[in-house]
Symmetry: C2
Subunit: 256 residues, 2 copies
C-alpha cells in the first residue's frame, strides 16, 4: 500500500517562498505515488487560540483546566470537529511535513495553535492515560516521520554554531524534540532556506531541487538521533553522567 | 515620576495558577506605587493570526509580503488599532511582565501571535529602517526591562541542566534572547513554578511570596548577561573564537 504524507503549512500568500516549496512538495509527493493530505492552516481559517470553545462539553464548568478538559474531550469523543479531523489526518499519515516561515525564532502563531489544540491529552501526551510513560521516541506517532521545512529571513551565518542568533537547530529544539520527538515521531534534520528576504530565481530553482532530493528520501533518510527515554540514557529523567560529557545544553540529547 | 509596568498575560481562567500570579503582580505593583498597564490577551479576544487583515492599506496588493507590509503599515501609521494600542503600551512601559503557562515548550499561540503582530518592522526589528544595526541589547526597548513568569506542568528535574526536556532557560531562549533581548530589553532571569499539575495551597503561598520578592526588585535585579551585538564579542555576527570556549550551543551568548 502506498504511503500517506500530511503536509501542514502556514503562509497565506500563494506566491510566497513557503508556498512555492509547498507546491514543490505536493507535486513531488504525488509523482512518488504517495497519498497526500493537506492542512493549509490559513485557508482553513484555523483557530489558533486554545480556549473554552475547544471544550463544548465540560468536565468542570467552574474552572477551566486545560489538561483535564483536553483529556475529557478526547476520551469522550467530544472534541471540536476541526481538532478531530486533524488528529485523523495525523493518524493516517506515515510522515508529516511542516512548512512555515521562521517568525521571531519560532512558528507562526497559527501553527503553534495547531499544536496547542490538536495535541490532546491522551493523544500526543499522557498517551494511554499513563502520564509521561510514553514519550521521547514512544507515543502515538511512533513509526511515523516528521520534518520541518523552514524559511528564514536572515543569513546562514547568524544561525551557525556560534552565530549571534544561536544555532537554528537549537532554536527549533522545542519543536523538533519537544513537539515532534516527544509524541513519538522520528524527526528528520530540518530543511532550511536562509536569506529569504531576497532570493534570485536561480537560487530558488536550486533550493527547490535540494528540497526535492530530501523528499525523495523521506522514508529512508536517517532521523536526528535524539535519545529515547527508554534507551537507558536517562535515569530519573536525567541524562546519565557518563554521556555527552563534552557538551552543554540541548545538544546533549542527541546521540551522535 | 513613578514607573510604569505593562503586564501581558495569556490564560483565560481567572482561577488558574497563571492568573493567581497575575493578581499578585497587579496588587504588588500597585502597592509599590507603579502605574500598571495590562494586556489580558484572552479577555481582549486578541487576534493571534498575523494575516492580510493586519494591513488594511497594502503597499503591494498583488503579493502579501509580511516584512514589506509591516514596514509600510507602521511607517505610514496605517496599522490596525489593536496593534497600535499594544505598541503604545510598550513604549509607555519601563518594564514588561509576561505571564503564561508553558504549552509544548513555548508560549500559548495567543501570546506568540501578540509578538508576531505587535513587533512591526521599523519598531521591534529593522529599527530606524536600518536592518540589523540595532539589535541584541539595542533597539526600541533599550532601557526597559522584561521578565517571563512561567507556569510549568512538569517537574523541575525534567528541565534541569541535563533533564530530559532540556534546560528551561534554553527552551525559552527564542523568547528571552530572540523576542526580548533582540529589540533591546534587559531581560531578567525567568521566574518559574514547576509541577503546576498539582499544587498544594501552602506551596502556592510560598511561590507567590517568592514572586513578590522578585517584583520588589524588578528595577534593581541584574538582568541575564546576554552578550550585546555592539560589545565587541561578535565579529561578522559570530562569537569571537576566544570566548565561551568551554560551552556549546545557546549558552555561549551569555557572558557569565
Amino acid at each position: 500500500m502506498s504511503k500517506t504524507v500530511l503536509v501542514v503549512y502556514a503562509h497565506p500568500e500563494p506566491k510566497s517562498l513557503t508556498r512555492t516549496f509547498v507546491s514543490e512538495t505536493l507535486q513531488t509527493l504525488e509523482s512518488l505515488g504517495y497519498n497526500v493530505l493537506q492542512s493549509d492552516l490559513y485557508s482553513m481559517n484555523w483557530k489558533a487560540t486554545f480556549d473554552e470553545a475547544d471544550f463544548p462539553s465540560r468536565a468542570n464548568s467552574e474552572k477551566l483546566m486545560f489538561i483535564q478538559e483536553s483529556e475529557h474531550a478526547y476520551t469522550t469523543a467530544q472534541q471540536t470537529q476541526d481538532v478531530h479531523a486533524e488528529q485523523q489526518k495525523l493518524l493516517a499519515a506515515d510522515a508529516v511535513i511542516f512548512h512555515f516561515p521562521l517568525w521571531w525564532f519560532g512558528m507562526p502563531a497559527i501553527l503553534k495553535g495547531w499544536i496547542d489544540r490538536v495535541y490532546a491529552y491522551g493523544f500526543a501526551y499522557g498517551y494511554k492515560g499513563q502520564g509521561n510513560r510514553y514519550r521521547y521516541g514512544d507515543g502515538i506517532f511512533k513509526g511515523k516521520r516528521a520534518i520541518l521545512s523552514v524559511m528564514v529571513g536572515g543569513p546562514n551565518q547568524d544561525y551557525s554554531p556560534r552565530g549571534i542568533n544561536g544555532p537554528l537547530d537549537e532554536l527549533l529544539f522545542p519543536i523538533t524534540h519537544g513537539a515532534l520527538f516527544f509524541p513519538g515521531f522520528d524527526v528528520l534534520p530540518t530543511h532550511v532556506v536562509y536569506g529569504t528576504g531576497k532570493v534570485e530565481p536561480d537560487r530558488i530553482k536550486k533550493e527547490l531541487r535540494s528540497w526535492g532530493v530530501r523528499l525523495e528520501h523521506l522514508f529512508d533518510e536517517a532521523p536526528i538521533p535524539f535519545r529515547r527515554q527508554d534507551s537507558g540514557n536517562y535515569e530519573a529523567n536525567t541524562l546519565v553522567s557518563h554521556l555527552a560529557t563534552d557538551k552543554t545544553g540541548l545538544s546533549i540529547h542527541i546521540d551522535d
